[in-house]
């Protein structure tokens, strides 16, 4: 299998606007599923096209297993890209679409036919050989596009937003299919998404991009437990932030001082971050302050409280039973689990 290395990869479309991809360094592990995550327009598709050889980088390098592939044309890279909008060739049948890559390699017709049939079985659309793309639903077209890529046995599979054009239930199905095929075939796979949940569920590692720059490259849980900046934590959502000053394993804020052994910074101005699940109500102890319940919602599997602590408001997600224990306006002790507190550097100046 193939390890893909991006070093200082940069793409500038237009001198007047900032780079679409800016000095990107990334080690994409062989045989793993890596997500390129980021908001729309952050350079995900551009990065994929450069890996596939469909766009020439302005500067930087791309190598497969240590060898630069910049001078190799797309058809010889062994990296196949599946586009977001499927792009099945409209005038070809499904069988011709899937067999396209083999036909280009001058594979014997009979062999193409049997391998197309195998692929249709793999993507669970047997018997679709003679249909035309326009007769298929979006989800089916997506699976055909996947089959068309897999039939050439790529070393690197690049999936551009494979799930974003699908309905919710189709999305789950497709997600299963991608995961299953990827594990079975062990292809180094990069998939693009703007949905953090999708990245977390599917990927072995996530590369988070903002404005063409790599923010964090990590395993999924790290983005919740130890995001490297406030922006990253905000992108993953739900976290409480309290500004303060960090020193000697303690962070001092306007509502009190908290023990916080885990941090991304050594000291100085910092932000205490804590996820709502790590905020408990009722029991006083270390790392506790008094707060007042402002509002609550009962969601069924859990309850969500908004609590004011001095000039700050935090969210707590608790056991649903706690709804009966507290009323809006009650004064309650609020405890931050010190092992769940994560101290981040202050938000960037432009925030």
């Amino acid at each position: 299998m193939t390890q893909v290395t991006l070093s200082g990869l940069t793409k500038i479309f237009d001198e007047k606007s900032p780079p679409a991809v800016d000095q990107l360094d990334l080690e994409i592990e062989s045989g793993k599923l890596t997500a390129l995550l980021g908001p729309s327009g952050c350079g995900k598709t551009t990065t994929m096209k450069m890996i596939a050889g469909l766009l020439r980088p302005t500067s930087g390098d791309i190598s497969f297993d240590g060898d630069s592939i910049l001078s190799i044309p797309p058809e010889d890279r062994g990296a196949v890209m599946v586009f977001q909008n499927y792009l099945l060739f409209p005038y070809m049948t499904i069988a011709e679409n899937i067999g396209f890559g083999l036909k280009m390699r001058k594979v014997d017709r009979k062999e193409i036919r049997t391998r197309v049939t195998d692929m249709l079985d793999l993507v669970q659309l047997p018997g679709f050989e003679d249909r035309k793309p326009r007769q298929l639903s979006g989800g089916q077209q997506q699976r055909i596009a996947l089959a068309r890529a897999l039939i050439v046995q790529p070393n690197v599979l690049l999936l551009d937003e494979p799930l974003s054009n699908l309905d919710a239930h189709l999305r789950d199905e497709m997600r299963e299919l991608i995961r299953r095929i990827q594990t079975e075939m062990g292809i180094t796979t990069v998939f693009v998404t703007h949905d953090q949940e999708e990245a977390v569920v599917l990927a072995d590692r996530i590369a988070l991009l903002f404005d063409g720059r790599l923010q964090q490259f990590d395993v999924p849980d790290a983005f919740f437990e130890s995001p490297q900046s406030v922006e990253i934590a905000k992108f993953f959502g739900g976290t409480n932030f309290i500004p303060g000053h960090y020193e000697g394993g303690e962070i001092t804020t306007s509502i009190g001082r908290f023990r916080a052994p885990r941090s991304a910074v050594d000291g100085g101005d910092a932000v205490l971050s804590i996820r709502p699940e790590a905020v408990t109500l009722g029991a006083a102890g270390g790392n506790s302050v008094m707060g007042r319940i402002r509002s609550h919602v009962y969601v069924g599997r859990y309850a969500r409280f908004r609590v004011t602590l001095g000039d700050i408001e935090v969210e707590a997600v608790t056991d649903p039973g706690q709804v009966k224990m507290f009323n809006d306006g009650d004064e309650v002790p609020v405890t931050f689990d010190s092992n769940k507190i994560w101290v981040i550097g202050p938000a960037a100046a432009h925030e």
Partner: protein
Amino acid sequence: MAVRTRRLTGTGLSEKAARRLTITVLLAPAILVILLLFMGGLVTGFLRSLGYFPLIGLNDFNFDAYSIIFTDNGFIRSFILTFHIAFTSTLIASILAVASAMLLRPAFRGKRFVQFIFSLNLTIPHLVGAVGVLYLFSGSGLVSRLATGAGLIDSPAGFPAMVNDPWAIGIIIQYVWKEIPFIGVIVLAILLSVGEDYESVARSLGANRWQAFRNVTLPLIMPGVVSASVIVFAFTFGAFEIPWLLGSTFPKALPVLAFESYTDVDLAARPQAMAMAMVIAVMSSLMILAYMKVSRRYVRS
């Protein structure tokens, strides 16, 4: 699925139908005039080709004119020549138009410039182009003189006949020059609207540049190329002035032959002229029909 509501007007007609009716009524006078002139001309021409011309005492219907022209070696050769002119110039113009559109597409920053060049060419009348071809490619023309000057040929007389020649090279040059931008503009527009993503997919799946063009781009632009070139074919098949100026004396292109028979002092030749005109009209109509059929098939698939 969007639910489309259809509002009904007081007359019980849908808005769309009502609008269509209004347009038809407004256009009716113009359509009538065109129908009278065009269809009238066609019907009269057809009747006369059948030998019906009461003014000069011909009152019977017969196919004499057709059997005369179809057994006349001169007519057959004219027909072949005309087909050769239309087919060859359309084919060459289409290939060059596709090639230039492909070359122009990536650098489409210079859009304005290209449009200028193309529109410049489109606005020059065929006749002016023909004079240009005469000036450049005739035996005493510029190219011939330059070739003589450069020592490529001994004298202008040694220059190969490209104007008024039996192979109709001069005519074809003029048509190709004139039609490349016409087809090219259409192809370029299609190329830009289709985008480059399909080719990217093909390249990514293992097609080299040529394979991607041959298997993906060409089928995608083919309907446009076919419709543009059929129009060009029908036009070049029926056009008179260029073969009249640049054509050989024998065989003559069909439209020239038809015109000359028509203006012949012998009124008896008129039915034959009309029969020829009918052949031209039928050929052109067949082309248009073929065009509609082919393009519809492409649109459907």
